[in-house]
Structures are given as structure tokens and as C-alpha cells.
Symmetry: C2
Subunit: 390 residues, 2 copies
């Protein structure tokens, strides 16, 4: 396999973005990534767009976005893996470069969720669980799904609502330092605990928002990367797995089997000891669509033992200076979660972390030279774990 | 780049399929492909699903299909490139194997177009042109788009409605010999010419139908392929390109720029002289969503000079025994066009052609050992040209 480097990254302002169309929103990230890599759109040999879509009537996002950004006639396609679509875009681009098919490929993600034509975005996304059984029959939507995880977890391990809120407090704190984040106000534990319930025990501040946003990363072969940048960040490994779409088939609700499998696969390829991954990693971005999801991620990734993830939150061990800093971007929780862009934004953020060029106060100390992205789609239907290294 | 072989192929019965759900329909092709390769679902390390979707309320086809077919927890994603989604699935799987990431990967395509919830399928697909300008303002749908191509072509080169109908007659003839085809009745030139107009000069028999169907191909590395099959068919090259989504930006309407570019790229990689590709190829499957599309494909692929493609049809040079046999499966026209599956079905058909195992009367003589698939998405937004070889 050829080595593949991230040579340019860009992220749009996340939030409510009625000021731009879908291609204009994509261009914000694409331009930043091109500038970062000092490349022209014409240098991009192929591109892959992570996008779930369905929000607007434009059903071919890869075409309009690629054309607007000057990428055509290079070949571009759309990939979809629910909320992990961005990671699947990065992986698809990675394989194009790793195989030798192309030397410079762009992965991007873009989503304008606030354009949703369905009654509510929550209903639309709810269909991405198990539609015919769980959504139609039981009315399950994502706050409900993750509330089931939270109650199962709290019941089994004794975690509290305050432990969950600790995740929100941390991620809002770091989001307040990230100018691209949707939410830039720190919150207190009390504010989180007093916020209204969305699906007990999850409250408003336990939940990621509805977001418009885009992200782009440019991947290059080793030969090209060494020519165009002094700060390549390498894709060391990508682990991926799919889980069942039926809650009734799951062994338990206190973690995601697909995420555990994806982590194992990534660790094996990257030469990371799965029993002590934090010894190898400087920083991680994990899929905190709800606060309980971040706590489950700590365990699924091996940052904590099963049943002990909530202690990392309680003891503030995932702030800078702790066992492993997590979601220094603000995470899905505060940075926002434009579902097709999220996985790409994680790679963009971690590339900047490894290059030590993020804003003051949220830069992780880089000593070991590795970073991890964890991106989940559906209710654990899809999981991707990507390892970056200097 | 590692060599990649097709080691198993399957195609469902194409047609109106209310008898099966989406995953059941996929399984028909997946099972046939697994049996053909003498592999078990557990051997598949990853899978890629070509699907446009939007027909039913199930928004995560890759998950439900993969789980039903026993492919999870292997990683599966969905890819979309409009009517070329199937080819993009094959290419994505190809890069996974070529890169060394995996040794055995399945590409499949599945679509249940008859479940369309929108007023008509034609309207739904019409949005896959240029939505905001051409669809909303001018009401253009695909029969209209290809009627513009047909009138431009006929006006410039003197082709007649009968020349277009020759394509339909050929493809219905070969479809009549293909038990998987949606239409299995030959038609006469007179029947075609007398059929009602859909968008002048295109008539009912100039148009591909609305189809439910699936197809699957299993790709393997050289090492694995040589162990499990005596009849590997190699993916020699895939060329891909994107075109503009705006008709107003096109230089002319008598061909598709993206298809010409994709062909050039594929020929270069495969070592085929672009001036004489028929010297290298035994058989081709091309994207005949309308009869004019097949004639434009002859020219875009270099089977005929610009302005002379219709003569191949008039002189029956794309039957077996002619310059190059085209669409011996019946093509989109008679075999049917389940849009996410079409590109995969082309690779499955050509693999069987190269192995010389298709039905009597529609088996091409295999002397040169190469075959070509040409798959277009949108109105020339996407184009993929794939070269297979023994």
C-alpha cells in the first residue's frame, strides 16, 4: 500500500447558514484546503463528497458542488454512510491514492440540514435508524435511541446525569475557543443539568445541534506530499465496521459493537496496542452526537475499561493535561454536526492539531505524534476509526 | 497497483418486482455471485452498494442490504453517481483491492424504482439533471434531455428516426435471449416507428423502462483470484470523468464530453489505441437509456467517427458478426435500467461474455480477450468506462 498524506485541510463556519447555497458552503472549505496545500482546483485528480442529502431538492450534490468548485471534469462521486459519510469519503479518497490510481484526491463533506423539507430534521434523521420497524412502529428517533443507551449505561454502571453533562461542559468550553464552532459560549454544569429534557435522561445540552457546514481534506501520495509540503500528516490506518440496524439484535446497549471492531482493525493496522491506545495518541476527536456517545466511545476505543468511561468525564481526564484530550474542536456537541461533513472535519481538525496550529487554549501537546478520529453512522450501523500520524 | 480480478458475478431478474423487498432483491444477485465464486458471505471483507434511492422510506440501503445478506460486520457503504452509481461502486471496490486494503470486496447495485413515492419516476429522475434551473424552470426530464440530443444529432448528421429504432430492434432482439431481461420480446422496426411519442423524436420504444433489479460482482486480489478460480476476468482500467450539469455550458449536444474523457482515460491506462478501440475489444455494454444515447456512445467511445455512429446502427454493425457487438444483454433498453444496479450488471454481463458462458445466440465470439462497459449518470454529469480482460 502506498503511503498517503493529508496535505491540505479546510473547514467552513459551522452553524445556521441560510446565507449560502450548498455549493457555496462547500467552496468555503474547498478553498481553504486548496490554499492550505497551495494547490489549484485543477490539480485535484478526483474528489469524493460525503453527503446524506434529502434536505433540499438537489439530488446530485457531488455534481453541483464539484462543478461550482472548479473540480470537474475530474471524476467526483458521492458516498453515504449516514453520520459517518465524511469518514467514508476520506476512506474512498485514501484508497484511490493508496492504490496508485491518483496522486492528489480531495475528500469533502457538506450538508445543509436546515433546509430539511420534512416536518422536522429529527424525524428525517430518525429514518436513519431502523426505518420500517423501529421508526414506523415505535417512533424512535435519535434522541430516543441514545436515551436508551444512556439509561442502560447509567443503570449498569452507576453513571449520573451530571457525568453526562461533564462532557457537554468540556465540549462547549473548547468550542468557545474554536472560531468555526456553531456554539462559542461555555456552559456550566448547572446550566446543563437544568436544561429541558429531550428524551430522558438526555437534555438539550446533552444533544448535538442541527448544523450546516462543510469540510475538505486533500490527500496526496508520498512522492507528491514531500514535494508540496513540509508538514505532511499521514493516514496511518482506517478501521471500519458495520453493525446491526436492529436494536433487538444487540447484545447490550452500553457500547457500539461496530465501533469496537473498527477500533480493533485500526489499531492492528497502525501497530497500536489495543489495551493501551492512549500511550500512542496525543489527541482524539470522537462522535459525541449525544454526551453518552462520547462516554461509550471512551470505552469502545479502549481509553477506559468497560463501565469506567464516565469516570474519565467525571475526573476531567479528557481535557488537555488529562489521560487523553478529546474533542478539542468542541466536538459534534459544540462545533456542530453537519452529518456528511463531520468525518472530514475530524480529519481536518486533527491534522491541524498534529501540525500544532490550532487556536490558543485548545492545542493539544503533541509528543507522540498520533491522533485518532472516531465517527459513527446511524445507531452504530457504521463506524470508522482513523489514525493519523506525523 | 495490484491487479484485481472479477471472481464472481450475479444478476437478479430485472423488471417489476413487488414480490421482493429491497434486501431480498439484493440477495438474488449477492447469492448468485457468492455461488459463482464459491465463497461465503463471511469471506467478503468489505462491500460497496450503488444505490440512488429515494424510492422508499428506507434511507440507509447499504445497512439493511448488507445485514440481510450476511455481510455485516464487514464494512459497507453506499455510493451514488446517479445512473452511473453501479460503476462508481465497482470502482470504489476496485481501489480497495488494488490498494492492498482488502483481498475480497463485493460491489453491488440495487434499486426498486417502482416504489417511487413522488408523482412519477420520470419526475423524480428529472431532478437528477440540473434541478434548480432546468427542471424547475423548464420542466426538463430525461426523455426531454435526450430528445434534445436526438434532434441536434439528426439535424447535424442526417440520422433518421428509423436509425434510432434500429438500436431498439437490436437490443430487444438480444434481450429476448436473456432470461434476466425485463423485456423478452423482439420488436420490429415498424413497431418501434409506430410507437407513441414520449418526447419527439423519441418514442416509447426508444426509451429504457422503469426497473427493479440488482447485480453483484466480487473482486479479488491476484493472489486470491488464482487460488479460487480458473477463470479470472481482470479489471484492466477504469476511466472516469464528470461533465457540466448545465446544458447551456455544453459545446454541443451530439455527444457527451464526460464520456469521451472517460474513454480516453481508460484507453490510455489499458494500452488501447483510442483511434481503433474496436481492434482490441470483443464486446461492449453501453449506456442506452435512450436509443440516441447508444449512437452517441459509439462515437464517444471511438467505435465510429463523429457523425457516423448512426451508420453502425443502420448497417447492423453492432450485432454479433459486425464491427463490434454492443449490448448483447439487451442493454438498458430491453434488459432494464435499475439505476444503481446498471453499472454493476454491465460488469457481470461482460465477465460472463469473456468467460463464454452466456445464453446461445447472444454470446460474442471471444478472440481478443477484452470487453468494455460505458455507464453514464445524469445528462452526462458522470461517465465511467471500464475495460475488462482475460
Amino acid at each position: 500500500m502506498r503511503r498517503v498524506a493529508v496535505v491540505g485541510v479546510g473547514i467552513s463556519k459551522f452553524g445556521y447558514r441560510p446565507d449560502v447555497s450548498l455549493p457555496e458552503l462547500a467552496w468555503e472549505a474547498v478553498k481553504e484546503a486548496l490554499d492550505d496545500a497551495r494547490l489549484d482546483a485543477k490539480d485535484i485528480e478526483a474528489y469524493v463528497v460525503g453527503n446524506v442529502g434529502g434536505w433540499s431538492s438537489e439530488p446530485l450534490p457531488a455534481v453541483v458542488v464539484g462543478e461550482y468548485c472548479g473540480l470537474a471534469p475530474s471524476s467526483g462521486i458521492r458516498v453515504e454512510a449516514a453520520c459517518a459519510s465524511g469518514s467514508s469519503a476520506v476512506r474512498t479518497a485514501y484508497h484511490m491514492v493508496a492504490s496508485g490510481e491518483a496522486d492528489i484526491v480531495m475528500a469533502m463533506g457538506v450538508e445543509k440540514m436546515n433546509e430539511s423539507p420534512t416536518p422536522t430534521v429529527v424525524e428525517f434523521i430518525g429514518r436513519a435508524g431502523n426505518y420500517f420497524w423501529e421508526f414506523e412502529n415505535f417512533g424512535l428517533t435519535f434522541p430516543g435511541y441514545y436515551a436508551l443507551h444512556a439509561t442502560a449505561y447509567m443503570n449498569k454502571y452507576g453513571a449520573t446525569e451530571a457525568d453526562l453533562c461533564e462532557v457537554a461542559v468540556k465540549n462547549h468550553y473548547y468550542g468557545s475557543l474554536n472560531p468555526k464552532a456553531q456554539f462559542q459560549k461555555p456552559i456550566t454544569l448547572e446550566e446543563c443539568l437544568k436544561s429541558r429534557y429531550v428524551a430522558w435522561p438526555l437534555k438539550l445540552y446533552d444533544s448535538s445541534p442541527i448544523t450546516d457546514g462543510s469540510a475538505a481534506v486533500i490527500l496526496a501520495s508520498e512522492e507528491v506530499a514531500k514535494k508540496i509540503t513540509d508538514t505532511p500528516v499521514w493516514i496511518k490506518a482506517i478501521g471500519a465496521a458495520n453493525g446491526t440496524s436492529n436494536l433487538s439484535k444487540r447484545e447490550d446497549f452500553t457500547g457500539l459493537e461496530a465501533a469496537r471492531l473498527a477500533a480493533q482493525r485500526a489499531y492492528r493496522k497502525a501497530g497500536i496496542d489495543p489495551n493501551e491506545p492512549v500511550k500512542y495518541l496525543d489527541v482524539a476527536e470522537v462522535h459525541d452526537c449525544f454526551t453518552i456517545a462520547e462516554i461509550m466511545a471512551y470505552e469502545d476505543l479502549g481509553f477506559a475499561k468497560r463501565g469506567e468511561g464516565y469516570k474519565l468525564a467525571r475526573e476531567k481526564q479528557t481535557y488537555i493535561g488529562g489521560v487523553i484530550p478529546v474533542n478539542l474542536s468542541g466536538g459534534l456537541k459544540a462545533k456542530g454536526h453537519p452529518i456528511g461533513a463531520t468525518g472530514v472535519a475530524m480529519i481536518a481538525e486533527l491534522t491541524r492539531q498534529l501540525r500544532q496550529e490550532v487556536e490558543r487554549g485548545r492545542q493539544a501537546p503533541i509528543k507522540k505524534g498520533m491522533a485518532l478520529a472516531h465517527n459513527v453512522g446511524g445507531t452504530g450501523h457504521y463506524a470508522f476509526v482513523t489514525i493519523l500520524s506525523l
